[in-house]
């Protein structure tokens, strides 16, 4: 009979706490948004499901010998998962539009202002006593503004692992919300005439340029920001495998089986950081708030940089492609295209926006390198 009582007490009904129940509801909400609303489902389904698993009482899944904790230790504490994903993303990236119009790299630079202003915002909120973020935590929050999932997870895993869950959820949620966040800002900062600017067609790019570019990028990273090398090194490696044309079987695997496997494991690992005790804290609200700020500022500074470049250059660029500099590949580029079509139904900006879009990936990886160098170790 005592054994029966023991068994009853081992059930989840008895053990579950309200915070755990709330987290399970949040996990279900993430799944709902991913499945029904198309919110970055490749990541938010494993993250949401992992989050539910992590809040089930009476069994160790996200701690100790639990499988999600093992995945976390194996792939996130080591940085292996985000770096392998970055390699796969590199193998899927086409630098052609960027090579055809290299000055759009500046748009990818400007959009990183979202990262650093958010970092300052986090420290300001600490200064006025609303929150209590360290420099490491503020940096990890800022990187949400990079609008790049693996970069955010890599940086947060090193600088503020205790916030990894909230940061990843914010990063992917806002990436999914780019079609809602960006257009009002883009319209507010541009005139009707600016939105109608048509751009000259991009020149063709040779295969050799595409092969040399990742190596050139790697060498520059090595010389200027070594701390960004793990991220950009794996990214360039993936891109080289794709462009060189002689290892297509490796490139295919990096883009498919390998990135899919790692995505499943990475998502579950991130989900393991959605335990109620880690997620249901005041700082999560700050992260959500500041993450939204980061996306908005990044968008605005990309657009404004495009307008600034037009002051100095006769070859005008449509400022709507500036917002694509935040990354969120390829969503942000599609948004540029869509808002452009509203102003002029014959003005297709998609290819032009792909340049700043991938530039934003490089830009936020460089910013990540600086953050790791400055605030890390």
């Amino acid at each position: 009979m005592s054994r029966l009582l023991e068994l009853w007490q081992s059930t989840g009904i008895v053990q579950i706490t309200l915070p755990q129940l709330l987290m399970i509801l949040i996990g279900l909400l993430l799944l709902y948004l991913a499945i029904k609303k198309g919110f970055e489902p490749l990541l938010l389904i494993p993250i949401g499901f992992g989050g539910i698993l992590s809040n089930i009482p009476g069994v160790d899944i996200a701690v100790g010998d639990g499988i999600l904790h093992q995945f976390y230790v194996m792939g996130l504490e080591t940085g292996v998962f985000p770096l392998l994903i970055f390699m796969g993303v590199g193998a899927m990236t086409d630098f052609g539009p960027l090579l055809a119009n290299p000055k759009t790299l500046l748009l990818g630079a400007a959009a990183q202002f979202g990262i650093f202003s958010t970092l300052l915002g986090a420290l300001f909120l600490t200064d006025i006593g609303w929150f209590n973020f360290t420099l490491q935590q503020a940096s990890a929050i800022g990187i949400i503004g990079g609008a790049d999932g693996p970069t955010a997870i890599y940086v947060a895993g090193i600088l503020a692992p205790e916030m990894l869950g909230a940061i990843a959820v914010a990063a992917y949620s806002y990436m999914a919300l780019v079609p809602l966040i960006q257009p009002p800002i883009m319209r507010a900062l541009t005139s009707e005439d600016e939105r109608k600017i048509t751009m000259t067609q991009l020149r063709a790019v040779s295969q050799t340029e595409k092969i040399v570019f990742p190596l050139l990028l790697l060498i520059l990273v090595a010389l200027v920001v070594p701390s960004a090398t793990p991220l950009l090194g794996m990214f360039c490696f993936g891109n080289l495998m794709k462009e060189c044309g002689v290892v297509s079987r490796l490139s295919d695997t990096a883009q498919n089986a390998l990135i899919n496997i790692v995505t499943i494991l990475l998502g579950l690992s991130v989900g393991s950081k959605l335990g109620a005790d880690q997620f249901l804290v005041a700082s999560t609200l700050g992260i959500l708030l500041l993450g939204m700020l980061a996306f908005s500022i990044g968008t605005a500074s990309g657009v404004l940089m495009a307008k600034l470049m037009n002051v100095f250059s006769s070859n005008k660029i449509n400022p709507l492609i500036g917002s694509a500099g935040v990354s969120a590949v390829p969503m942000a580029a599609r948004v540029s295209n869509k808002v452009g079509l509203e102003a002029d139904p014959h003005n297709f900006l998609l290819m032009h926006a792909m340049g700043p879009n991938v530039a934003g990936v490089i830009g936020s990886a460089v910013a990540a390198g600086v953050l790791l160098q400055f605030a890390g170790g």
Binding site: S173, L280, L285
Partner: protein, 80 residues
């Protein structure tokens, strides 16, 4: 009957009991879920997902923030 065997009987009894209770509850829950889903399913399929996506996503964002905020508030209250 020694202790090990009696432990075994206890385990067998509770084990089969749990299996039956669990699957019986699952039958009821599944039937309830199915009838619930089948009541709403037509409505969902009439309103095209594509046309309502944007507004829905907008309100969902608010929903997400609202739920998380409420959850955190709740949690902080219960901890005190």
């Amino acid at each position: 009957m020694n202790n090990l065997l009696s432990q075994g009987f206890e385990l067998a009894l509770f084990g089969m009991g749990t299996v039956f209770v669990f699957l019986a509850v699952l039958i009821i829950a599944t039937k309830a879920m199915s009838s619930l889903v089948l009541r709403f399913e037509p409505a969902v399929s009439v309103a095209s997902a594509a046309t309502v996506a944007q507004d829905a996503a907008l309100s969902d964002r608010g929903h997400l923030l609202a739920v998380i905020s409420a959850a955190i508030a709740q949690h902080r209250t219960t901890k005190k």
